[in-house]
Assembly symmetry: C2
Homo-oligomer: 203 residues x 2
């Protein structure tokens, strides 16, 4: 009995809601949303279906929570870039490109989970659709702002081009092996070099 060091609730695992969301995330992304049943999620979360339904009223709600979490993390990438390079949009842009490069050369990328959800959930009234739409629209606007702040001319056209290039790269990773996605970072750099802002003076 010497080892009873007052650790009754040592929380060896996070609360069930977190476990469920984490399991859903892994399974949804790996196998697809429609391909994964709630039983499988509950089991992967080391819990049961009842607990799942106490925290998420339905599978659609769980999907919405899953997408909301993904969108929040996507937003945090931009916030982190902004606070790591305050008042330095060029450095933020460079940081974003590095981030893009990491994703596309990861090797385990199965595309943008949010875009994949858009493909799988086509019912017009589905709660996921507005989350998806809002996130992608927000992302595009962030790109526009970034290019504008970085001094590029015609930031909207440039942002659209970069946006589509990136989206295309991620979907292509799922379609064709050895696809053109590997070269997207080089494309971005040469594209930015071509449209380089007129005043690249350093203070």
């Amino acid at each position: 009995m010497t080892g009873t060091i007052n650790r009754p609730t040592d929380i060896p695992q996070p609360p069930p809601r977190d476990r469920i969301l984490s399991a859903a995330r892994k399974l949804f992304y790996r196998h697809g949303i429609r391909a994964v049943g709630v039983d499988a999620i509950a089991e992967a979360a080391a819990t049961n279906k009842m607990t799942l339904y106490r925290h998420f009223g339905s599978k659609d709600e769980l999907i919405a929570a899953y997408l909301t979490e993904l969108a929040r993390e996507g937003d945090e990438v931009w916030e982190k870039l902004a606070e790591e390079h305050p008042n330095d949009p060029r450095a933020q842009l460079e940081g974003w490109i590095v981030f893009v490069e990491q994703i596309l050369t990861d090797g385990s990328d199965r595309g943008c989970a949010i875009a994949n959800a858009a493909v799988e959930l086509r019912e017009i009234g589905h709660p996921a659709r507005q989350i998806i739409d809002a996130y992608k629209t927000r992302k595009r606007e962030r790109l526009v702002t970034m290019f504008r702040d970085a001094g590029y001319a015609e930031p909207e056209q440039l942002a659209d081009e970069v946006f589509l290039l990136f989206e295309g790269a991620r979907i292509s990773l799922q379609c064709c092996s050895n696809g053109p996605a590997q070269r997207v970072v080089k494309m971005l750099r040469s594209m930015l070099a071509e449209h380089a802002p007129p005043s690249s003076t350093i203070i």
Copy 2:
């Protein structure tokens, strides 16, 4: 009785296999592959499940046939461009851009059906995957050839860029309303103008 003009088998409808494939095509594209059951397909084809299973041994086989048909039609677009403008790769390229414009401004586009299938069918051994991969790889190579024949420098880089832009546009149509996909044709034209082939002489 004047109208009995010896039309006993007037074939008011195509054979069941064609009807099934056509119904599958419509439903798969509209609602997604996993969201549509074989019963719904059979009913939409004005036949029954048994006949469906006599022509296609399983749902996966039907999916494979569906994708094979789509891929063949996709290939035919290129073949038609080639025979409409023989020995005129510039005109072929222009024709392809018009084709792209039609798709993206259609208003009812739900993305590339083949890419969507890649998102939905993630099982590694699925018969659909090689059809998808082969088609997208073929498409990319066609673009490379077209740009090379049209005299563009670095046709592979250009083809990859155009490929990703187009793929990104089609997936974005499903993600964000009022997305940047509308401007992709202008992007293509300005991009091609920038990388215009050195010898644009006519004959």
